[in-house]
């Protein structure tokens, strides 16, 4: 993982983990790497990884079992909400950009439908 310069490292770690959860790479109930493992893999201070885990725990995305490690939530609703939140973010970025190309709403929907058909 390459770090972006202008964001705090812990936020980037949070985003990195969220992406892996939403993409299904890590599923609900899976164990996350230990703080030490992840810090060693990303070459960052363990305290930073610890902070990222704490933030994720506050958002109820992960939970800690004493002496066992940190696990992704088993609550599908929470994961679904994360997916939807992420989707909203992606869409709003997309809309902002495509509006800049001066299409009206119907044209935008048509373009999207065409592209999705092509993908299939």
């Amino acid at each position: 993982m390459e770090f972006n310069d202008n964001l705090p490292i812990y936020l980037q770690i949070i985003n990195y983990l969220k992406r892996r959860i939403t993409s299904g790479e890590i599923s609900g109930g899976d164990k996350l790497p230990s703080v030490r493992e992840l810090s060693s893999k990303l070459k960052v201070n363990p305290n930073t990884v610890q902070r990222a885990y704490q933030e994720l725990e506050r958002e109820d995305l992960v939970f800690t079992k004493r002496g066992m490690g940190t696990f992704v939530t088993e609550d599908d609703d929470v994961i679904m909400k994360l997916k939807k939140d992420t989707a909203k973010e992606v869409i709003s970025n997309f809309i902002a950009e495509i509006k800049g190309l001066d299409f009206d709403d119907d044209e935008i929907i048509e373009i999207i439908l065409n592209e999705i058909k092509k993908e299939d």
Binding site: F3, D5, N6, L7, P8, I9, Y10, R36, S39, S40, L42, K43, V44, N45, P46, N47, T48, Q50, R51
Partner: protein
């Protein structure tokens, strides 16, 4: 959290030259502090005062509540920026030396690290390259379960492979019960290791704070902030 190191109004003069000027700095327990500055900014002078190799002209230094002396030397694990082992030693001798003098030396950890660094115990100190010397010194220093680690320019002048190994070793062996001070001018390679940073210029701390907060506040990496401060 408790402060493990407290530095108050610290000054050091060499004849007329001020090496450190009225410096205040604290290091919390369990934190990694990066002291950043170019050569000649006073980093090494500060480190030498903490390790008892230099005397301050003014001010006070407390480590774990004690003035620098035999006690603090027993809880500080120090990596100098030079080859400090005796020339007659083999790596084996150096290991014995460390376990004889430092009761916190963990032989098992030392052997694992030595393996990781791909060094053999029968090697002679004088036969090691610059990178190997740095790796050996770091192995010895990190194999102590010290309260405070002080690493002076741990990756200066070593090749990229050794650099990665050294960073790995530091992260893997860092223990959140102890604190660490790392000085460097190679900020880009090391900035992700720091909880807190202090920028040192002409013997004064001109900026200090939590690394993440500084990134957020300035919208810049620590490396970019460093370049901004020292480019003039």
């Amino acid at each position: 959290m408790e402060n493990l190191v407290e530095i108050k109004k610290l000054s050091k003069n060499y004849f007329n030259k001020k090496a450190l000027d009225n410096l205040d700095l604290t290091i919390e327990e369990g934190k990694v502090l990066g002291i950043l500055g170019p050569n000649g900014s006073g980093k090494t002078t500060l480190i030498k005062i903490l390790t008892g190799l230099l005397r301050q002209s003014k001010g006070e230094v407390l480590i774990d509540g004690h003035k620098v002396g035999v006690y603090t030397k027993s809880i500080v694990s120090y990596l100098p920026d030079r080859n400090f082992l005796y020339n007659w030693m083999t790596i084996e001798d150096a290991f014995k030396f460390y376990s004889d003098f430092y009761s916190d030396f963990d032989l098992k950890r030392g052997e694992e690290l030595l393996d990781f660094m791909k060094l053999g115990k029968d090697m002679k100190i004088t036969s090691l390259s610059k990178g190997m010397t740095e790796k050996l010194n770091l192995t010895l220093v990190l194999s102590r379960k010290a309260k405070l680690y002080i690493l002076d320019e741990p990756i200066a002048g070593v090749d990229p492979v050794a650099r990665d190994q050294i960073l790995d070793a530091i992260i893997k062996n860092y223990d959140s019960n102890s604190s660490m001070i790392i000085t460097t001018h190679l900020v880009r390679d090391m900035e992700n290791l720091f909880d807190d940073v202090a920028f040192l210029k002409d013997g004064e701390v001109i900026l200090k704070g939590n690394a993440e907060e500084l990134r957020e506040e300035k919208g810049k990496s620590i490396d970019e902030i460093y370049k901004e401060i020292f480019s003039e």
